[in-house]
Each structure stands twice: as structure tokens, then as C-alpha cells.
Symmetry: C2
Subunit: 216 residues, 2 copies
């Protein structure tokens, strides 16, 4: 019998919940990690007990893959709290966005264009294989996405080729047509910069079911 | 008989030439503006004399619509040379990108994310109606674009709703399915930030015929 697939997800917002349900629906043993696990008791029941809930550290230690689904501004503090040692050698899918709402809508970016949250996560977790992933779509499209235009690919980047191949495998399991690889982790500067644009379009069209897709 | 449609295009590179030929093919009287008009004598002959060539000032004064197709870093100096008074009340389609190649490939952005070349052009030409346009595709796709995925829309932004409607009309004339309006001219921060990503994808896929398109 194959080893059960396990994924830990850091975060307790809509993104973490959508990915938690989605990974569980695709046969993963999922644990959400959050500051106060008891707050998710009701939601845990909603999932029929299919998703476990633990601390950040427990979720980080849960399996070979960890998804970061925390608020952008909180992400680095959460990694410190989870303990960077729990990420050693793991595939870390970074779904976070460093959005700066301090000047209202639409948001800017916290770190400008010479750094990115993806790079900061990789620096914080030097022994992990960080792949930027999921940050360019709404949580309602992260798993089994349907677009009128047809099958879609997810934007990713990261330093480790094998980790990106593994990520593409996970994406296909979750219903994506594949990955759009934009290179090393510093590509996160531009995948993150896609998001304020995506927010503007969402506001203009009153939808959160859209994404930017490569056409040729 | 209808007034002939006239457009001036500032620049003498591939983008300016592609748009020059394209607007001419769609019935416009086109003048390219460049620092040294004589350098374009051979190209002018190639177009069968369908595109006139003049100075920056002559091209800016040529018609009610002016396209900026200069190198990003040179754009503001070119506007000074053309004379901002020639842009009063005009529709200015800004196709420029503030790409920073000083640290090699792929490029960064010259002005970061709290300003953009589109905004700088609008500040430089306060009496013109600047619409960011054409900056997100290669010159080979600017006119009569064909994509396997089907009809495509061009990303635009600008402060003047009427100017954006006029821009959408021009885009339809040039074979586009319409415009994707991302709001006021500060949206240029994100349309310009799309381009380093677009360059990365082009390098990865060895193509310059791609673009990012909205899917829902």
C-alpha cells in the first residue's frame, strides 16, 4: 500500500481552508496549523473530520509538503513560531502575498521589486525547497479550477527543479493542467506584483474567479 | 468624405515600426517621429511611402492621437524634445516600458511600484489624455494579433473615460477584441510590472508571441 500523502497548511483563513478541503478531497492527510487550534473546531466538524488542526509547529512537521497560506505581513513571524527546523528538506508551497493595504485599495506591495515574500521565505527556510504557488488566484479557484477559456496552468517559481516537478505533480492532482514556471524564486517579485493588478481587475469586473493566463 | 485618421508615433525601433505599418494598414495617415529622420529613409521606402517620417515635434503635432514607442529610459527626454505643448488635449497611447537592464536579464523596473512611466508621462503632459496601451505585448502582436486561445483584449489604463473608449475603438480597428481596463493611470505600475514577468516567460519558452490574458 502506498504511503499516505501528507500536507501541512499554515494559516486559518479562506485560502488555508480552501486548500485544506481541496487537498483532503484529493486523498491527502491534511493538517491546518494555526495560532489557536480551538478556533477551528467548528470548521473541523464541517469538513467531517477530514482535516486535522494543530499548531503551526505541528502542521509544519506533519508531512513532506507544507503550504504557506498566512497573511503576507504575518508570514515571517509564523515561520519563526513554527520553527524553521521543521521545514528542512521539505517542499514548501508559498501561497502568500505581501500586499500593502496601508494606503487603501487597491493594494501595493510591502517589499517593492527588489525583494519578494517568496525570497524572504526561502531565506528564512534555507534548508527547504520553496516554490511560489497558488498566490495568483482566489481561494475559490485553487483546487479543481474551471475557467470558460479551458484548462489553466498555475504560475510557479523556485530554485529547485525537482521541487518544481513535484509541485507540478501536486497541481495536476488538484485539477490544474500544469505549471507555468517563471524561473528561480526571485520570480516571486513578479508573481506577487501580478496580484495588485488582479485585485484591480476583480474590483472593475466585480469577480474573484479570474486569473491571468499565458496565451500564445 | 470622412476626415483622414492621423496618428503620430514617437520612436524608431521595432515597436514604432510595427505600429507604424499596422496603423497605416488600417487606413491611418501615420508619421513616425525620431531624432534623426534621415536614418529611416530605407525603412520609409520599404513601407511604400505609406508612413511619413519627421521629427519628434512634427510627429507629436501630426494628429489627434500620439503613440509613445520610445525606449523607457528615454521617454521623458523625448517628450521634452517634442514639446509638451503639442500634446494638449490629445489622446496619448503610452506603449513604453521602464525596464531596468542595469543588473542584466531579466530586467527590473526603473521606478519601482510607487510610480510608473505611465504616470510620469501623464504628469509631463498634464493637458493630454494618456492611456497606457500596447506595453504588454511584443511588437509582432500589436496589430492584428492571432492567438491560439482565440480573440484577445489589450490591457489599458488611464484617467479619462472618454479617452479609454476612444482607445478601445482604435484597438478594435487594429484587430483586438477590445480592452481590459484596469483603472486610472496609476494602474500602469502593474501593467509595467507585468513585463519583467513576460520577459521571463519569453526566455523560458523561447517565444515573444505570448501575452497574459484574463480568463474567468
Amino acid at each position: 500500500m502506498a504511503e499516505p500523502k501528507r500536507v501541512g497548511i499554515l494559516g486559518s483563513g479562506d485560502v488555508a481552508k480552501a486548500l485544506g478541503r481541496g487537498f483532503a478531497a484529493h486523498g491527502y492527510e491534511v493538517m491546518l496549523g494555526t495560532r489557536d487550534p480551538k478556533k477551528l473546531d467548528a470548521w473541523k466538524k464541517e469538513t467531517g473530520g477530514k482535516v486535522a488542526v494543530g499548531t503551526f509547529a505541528q502542521a509544519a512537521a506533519h508531512g513532506p509538503t507544507v503550504v504557506l497560506a498566512t497573511h503576507g505581513a504575518a508570514t515571517e513571524a509564523v515561520l519563526d513560531q513554527a520553527g524553521p527546523q521543521h521545514f528542512r528538506g521539505k517542499l514548501v508551497l508559498d501561497a502568500t502575498n505581501p500586499l500593502d493595504f496601508s494606503r487603501g485599495m487597491p493594494p501595493g506591495l510591502l517589499f517593492g521589486l527588489t525583494d519578494s515574500l517568496g525570497e524572504r521565505v526561502q531565506r528564512k527556510l534555507p534548508d527547504a525547497k520553496v516554490v511560489k504557488c497558488f498566490n495568483t488566484v482566489s481561494n475559490v479557484k485553487m483546487v479543481d479550477p474551471k475557467f470558460a477559456a479551458g484548462p489553466a496552468r498555475m504560475w510557479i517559481c523556485g530554485n529547485d527543479a525537482e521541487a518544481k516537478r513535484a509541485t507540478e505533480g501536486i497541481l495536476r492532482e488538484l485539477g490544474w493542467a500544469g505549471a507555468l514556471d517563471v524561473g528561480a524564486i526571485d520570480g516571486a517579485r513578479w508573481l506577487e506584483a501580478m496580484v495588485p493588478l488582479w485585485v484591480r481587475v476583480g474590483v472593475a469586473l466585480n469577480t474573484w474567479e479570474h486569473m491571468l493566463q499565458l496565451v500564445r
